[in-house]
């Protein structure tokens, strides 16, 4: 099992969700996160005073899938989230040792 973390632009959340649902992903966890990468921060101006804001707001979408589906998930998420501009975000993939469905006690792929 793999966890795929997609960090991307907040307005792309709906597109990514729809694309993943279309290929059969049945659940996800979404959170609002802050950070910076190549895009860096941005400038805000209050009463004529400029402030550099280092952290940009992004959305993080986490899905856990069977190993065989990782390539499809990455392809669908990349296609849905890409604008081609700096700041589109990143996808991290990592291994998951175990999954447990709390209600039934099922484990492994059956619990996803």
């Amino acid at each position: 099992m793999k966890k795929v973390e997609i960090i991307t632009r907040t307005f792309k959340l709906d597109d990514v969700k729809a694309a993943l649902a279309e290929i059969g992903v049945k659940g996800m966890t979404v959170s609002e996160v802050k950070g910076f990468g190549r895009q860096g921060g941005h400038k805000e101006v209050y009463r004529g005073a400029e402030y550099q804001v280092d952290f940009v707001v992004k959305v993080k979408i986490e899905v856990v899938v069977e190993d065989a589906r990782v390539t499809d998930v990455i392809a669908a998420a990349t296609k849905a989230a890409r604008t081609g501009q700096v700041g589109d975000g990143k996808i991290f993939v990592s291994s998951v040792d175990e999954v447990v469905r709390i209600r039934t006690g099922e484990t492994g792929d059956a619990a996803i």
Binding site: E44, V45, Y46, R47, G48, A49, E50, Y51, Q52, V53
Partner: protein, 401 residues
Amino acid sequence: MNAADTAFVLICSALVMFMTPGLALFYGGMVRSKNVLATIMHSFILLGLVSVLWAVCGYTLAFGKDIGGLIGGLDFLFLNGVGLDATGGPVENIPHMAFMVFQCMFAVITPALISGAFAERMRFGGFLVFSALWLLVVYAPMAHWVWGKGWMAEMGALDFAGGAVVHMSSAAAALAAVIVLGKRRGHGHTPFIPHNLPMTVLGAGILWFGWFGFNAGSALAADGFAVNAFVTTHMAAAAAALAWIFMEWRHSGKATTLGAASGAVAGLVAITPAAGFVTVMPAILIGLGGGVFCFLGVLLKNKFGYDDALDVIGVHGVGGTWGAIATGLFASINKATGLFYGNPSQLWIQLASVAATWAFCFVASLILFKLVDATVGLRASVEEEERGLDLTQHNETGYQA
């Protein structure tokens, strides 16, 4: 006694009362979320503290029988002699008690205005002691000089609704505050970003609404001068909101909601001394000037390096001073005549009142701040400031994560 005038002044008193919670929101939105409650409290609790002090001794110091042009006597201590007819009051058409409560609302909001300067670093106890002393030592004499038949009134200074008494006085105290308290931790390298601008814009809207009571009510009658003050107030605020956003559009590339809100307040400040003495077209010019000068005034603090957190000096100091001078230029009705209508001496009188107001209020406020700092303490500790004043001064937080 006139029933319509009495009803009007009571309604205006309620409108002015509403400005203080409006100011609380205006300021509260501009600070960081860890200080929102402390900032709101700096305005809101003065509805409690100042109102009681006003009834006990503030009113009589401002409006008691004149002593040497400097202060009111103790005739009205505990509101003795302030009755339900006009006896002892300044005008024949409304009960003395109605005038007292109208003035009470002005006394409440004025020290609250100062709190924008020392936001995010003041201890609550020191704040209360300072505000009480300031009301009696600075505000009451100022109100007496201008409205209580004191020396500024005798000199012929025009201040319809409080350019000197309310705005310049609070700005001079703000200047003293930033000198005594120093900067917030992290000033200059940490961004101090407003945490809730919708709150600030709502507050500005409430201030604009309440200001109709402030300025039109200062006619103390439901008459044509009240109508004039109502309209000049509205137009000046409108013009200043526009002027401010165009200034910042040129300066930094975008028009902002904070700029629109700040501009409206700047225009309201600028028209305050003039509202009952100028006609509508000059009021628009005063508003435009208020927007432009206050925008530039706010930029000044970066040049001087002082930390006037919410721009009390830039908005109330610059706007109040401009308004007082503009009154000397544009006055043309209500038995007042300014420079542009053939009376240059009015301008000199206005300039003298501006200088005297700044000098007295700054020096007296500086002494009071030093005194309270040395006894009760003003500045929050490093840890209190880092954790936020809401938690450390009030044991609560504005928002749950």
